[in-house]
């Protein structure tokens, strides 16, 4: 069956909050190693779609599949909890507001889940923390608390925390939107490095330049649908849809 070769598959994703339909029948596939950018104005449903992939914001209809396993399958509560916790270990997520654990140092932020869920010894966990924090350039701050770090540093630690679970897929939910402009680049560099290592990534972003430079594919969403998708050079240079053109025009005006 050809479906089984698909890495991430979203089938007819639908989500409503009461009478408000925020995702309308979205289907899309992401291949292993692919980097997909999702752009669109706020309220377009892009974050909701991203958060549906690890069931943080459950769909009201449709299916999410990861490597041939349905993420949001129907199971009795307890079994579902076990299933979803196992699935989430394979999917890293980075949030707009970092969501670092403020009562833990960078090291503890990175090692907490691997120790608890994978039973790593303190020595192995320390090695893992050093490795992951080194990767994001935060090794020198390994024993700092989040309150002692800048926004960009916090976000880099948050990326290391997600990577420490050795995920197959990384989700970025506007990872740089809450950062001061001068701190955006250091986080982008880390993401670019991950791209070079062929990490599969789905990136919700407001930064068109960044999306253009790292993504293999960019999706433009508006009012709960994917209006248009394609390689960044096509989508940004020659969009076929009026809504895409308008969005890009407004965005470029806003940027200048």
């Amino acid at each position: 069956m050809s479906e089984q070769t698909k890495f991430v598959e979203i089938r007819h994703a639908q989500k409503s909050f009461g009478s408000l339909e925020v995702l309308k029948d979205i289907s899309l596939n992401v291949e292993r190693g692919q980097i997909v950018g999702i752009i669109g104005s706020s309220g377009s449903g892009k974050s909701t779609l991203l958060r549906a992939i690890n069931d943080l914001s459950p769909l009201t209809g449709g299916e999410i599949w990861l490597e041939g396993v349905q993420v949001n399958k129907t199971l009795p509560h307890r079994q579902y909890e076990t299933h979803i916790n196992a699935m989430r270990q394979q999917v890293g997520m980075v949030f707009q507001h970092f969501n670092l654990f403020p009562h833990m140092t960078a090291r503890e932020n990175v090692t907490m889940a691997p120790k608890l869920l994978k039973g790593l010894s303190q020595a192995d966990a320390d090695k893992l923390a050093e490795e992951q924090l080194d990767k994001v350039g935060m090794l020198e701050r390994i024993d700092y608390y989040p309150s002692q770090l800048s926004g960009g540093q916090k976000q880099r630690v948050a990326i290391a925390r997600a990577l420490a679970m050795k995920p197959k897929l990384m989700l970025f939910d506007e990872a740089t939107s809450a950062l001061d402009p001068e701190l955006v680049e250091e986080v982008n560099l880390v993401m670019k490095k991950l791209a070079e290592e062929h990490m599969t990534m789905i990136i919700v972003t407001h930064e068109m330049d960044f999306a253009a430079s790292v993504c293999d594919r960019v999706l433009f969403m508006d009012q709960g649908v994917v209006v248009e998708e394609g390689p960044p050079e096509v989508l940004f240079k020659n969009p076929t849809q009026t809504r895409t053109r308008e969005f890009l025009r407004k965005h470029l005006e806003g940027a200048n």
């Binding site: 196992a86 989430r88 999917v91 949030f95 969501n99 403020p102 833990m104 309150s147």
Partner: protein, 218 residues
């Protein structure tokens, strides 16, 4: 007759024993009220409603009735159903549960005030809700309530004098006993008050230390 503080050293051993009992009971009951407060808070917020009901009854009993009555109930009442507790254990349980209910209220509010993103981040890593509460949410909630819980613990220290009524020779009862022998109420009540004040200062010092240690990790 005038005041004569020179009589104090002769009875100091009895008073100091009372101080030891007061500290022992206060610390034990404080720990119980702290751990119990966390457990009650988690039950109130997250347990199935059937499990919540008996705890609501406990909460009502300990919040809505006098502590004195609660101590009588635990010490004298439970004997009738075959639970014969030593007086100091009954006192620790009574004080501990009484303040656990108050701590629970504080901790519940603090748990709800922890940013939702914290639970989300923990769940995203693959933690169950219970694990996320234990590792991420509750430690933060508890840090936030150290100052008001500290106030409750000072109240607990003062209320520990009530366990004298079930016969625990803590500081107040020790003072009374010495007064019974010496007829010197002013000297020994003042002495007892002085010891309460010192214990109070120690508790504030500990609270201050804890607050300083955690201020960095917010």
């Amino acid at each position: 007759m005038g005041l004569d503080f020179s009589i104090i050293p002769k009875y100091m051993d009895i008073i100091l024993l009372g101080v030891a009992w007061t500290i022992g009971i206060t610390v034990s009951a404080a720990l119980l009220s702290f751990i119990g407060g966390i457990i009650f808070a988690v039950i109130a917020l997250y347990a199935h409603w059937i499990i919540r009901q008996p705890f609501r009854l406990i909460e009502w009993v300990f919040m809505g009735t006098p502590l004195l009555l609660q101590l009588f109930l635990i010490y004298f009442g439970l004997v009738q159903i075959g639970i014969d507790l030593p007086a100091f254990i009954a006192g620790i349980i009574g004080l501990g549960l009484h303040f656990a209910v108050y701590n629970s209220e504080l901790i519940q509010t603090a748990i709800l005030a922890v940013d939702k993103g914290q639970m989300e981040a923990a769940r995203t890593l693959g933690l169950s809700r219970g694990q996320a509460l234990r590792k991420v949410v509750i430690p933060q909630a508890v840090r936030d309530v150290i100052p008001p819980i500290g106030n409750n613990m000072i109240a607990l220290l003062k209320d520990s004098a009530l366990v004298s009524v079930i016969g625990v020779s803590e500081l107040t009862l020790s003072a009374q006993r010495v007064i019974g022998k010496t007829y010197r109420p002013f000297e020994f009540y003042i002495l007892a008050a002085g010891f309460y004040y010192v214990i109070n200062l120690c508790m504030e010092w500990v609270q201050h230390k804890i607050e300083r240690r955690i201020s960095i990790s917010r």
